[in-house]
Amino acid sequence: MVLLLIPSWLYAWDLKSVVTYFGTSDQTITIGWTSSNPVPNEAFDIELFHVERNAVMLTGHTSQLEISVQLPVSGHYIARVRCVAPVEESVCLGNDGNTYDNGICRTIWVESIDPTYAKVNDEPKGWWIYGHVAPPGPIE
């Protein structure tokens, strides 16, 4: 299982149960997570799902517990992360939702809007990101 953490550089607006973090699409953001049950050689797949376009706009893969990305377009984004690790099939399939293929175990995707997995200020809470269009520079 992975646990998504807030991108702390962004500024937040708490709307009901989901916190919106605002930034601009020229900024590099860092999204982090924890590994609740680390295993050797584990890695993570990450996706940024664009809500308005109903499409995955960015994918990544890392063995680190964070990834830095630039938002490709403006709009709302939900972060998704899953763990990928070479473990025994019996161990892998012992957890609900895991899939096993060619010696590789993959967990379910966890989403940043799901308070089961997401945290804000160390409290279970969903979050997403809104990337504004970056303004032009000063007029001459």
Binding site: D26, A134, I139
Partner: protein, 107 residues
């Protein structure tokens, strides 16, 4: 036909990768610039790393004459606009002087 001097507006482009054009907002000085102010699509002409537009070539612009507060926004392919970069008290004069009188050629 009168000849108008160029009125060059320059600004650094937005850093967002999906910007397709820029909008210019204008309001008479002191009125207060908003997204409801008169606006013009000024394109995305980048020269030497700056967005450059000659206001004298923007359709409708040459009917303006006076001192204006102006703002520019970046617009992405979905039509979303950025916040405004503004500049106050910009004098615009697209009114040419009266032409000289009738030419006379004397012998």
């Amino acid at each position: 036909m009168a000849k108008l001097q160029p009125a060059i507006l320059r600004f650094p482009p937005s850093g967002s990768p999906d910007v397709v054009t820029y909008k210019l907002y204008m309001e008479l000085e002191g009125v207060g610039l908003t997204y409801d102010s008169q606006s013009y699509d000024i394109g995305n002409n980048i020269v030497d790393g700056m967005v450059v537009v000659d206001l004298a070539t923007v359709p409708g612009m040459t009917s303006l004459d006076g001192v204006y507060d102006i703002g520019v926004t970046a617009v992405d392919d979905a039509g979303n606009e950025s916040s405004m970069s503004t500049k106050d008290s910009v004098p615009l004069d697209f009114t040419p002087p009266d032409p000289p009188g009738q030419l006379e050629i004397g012998g």
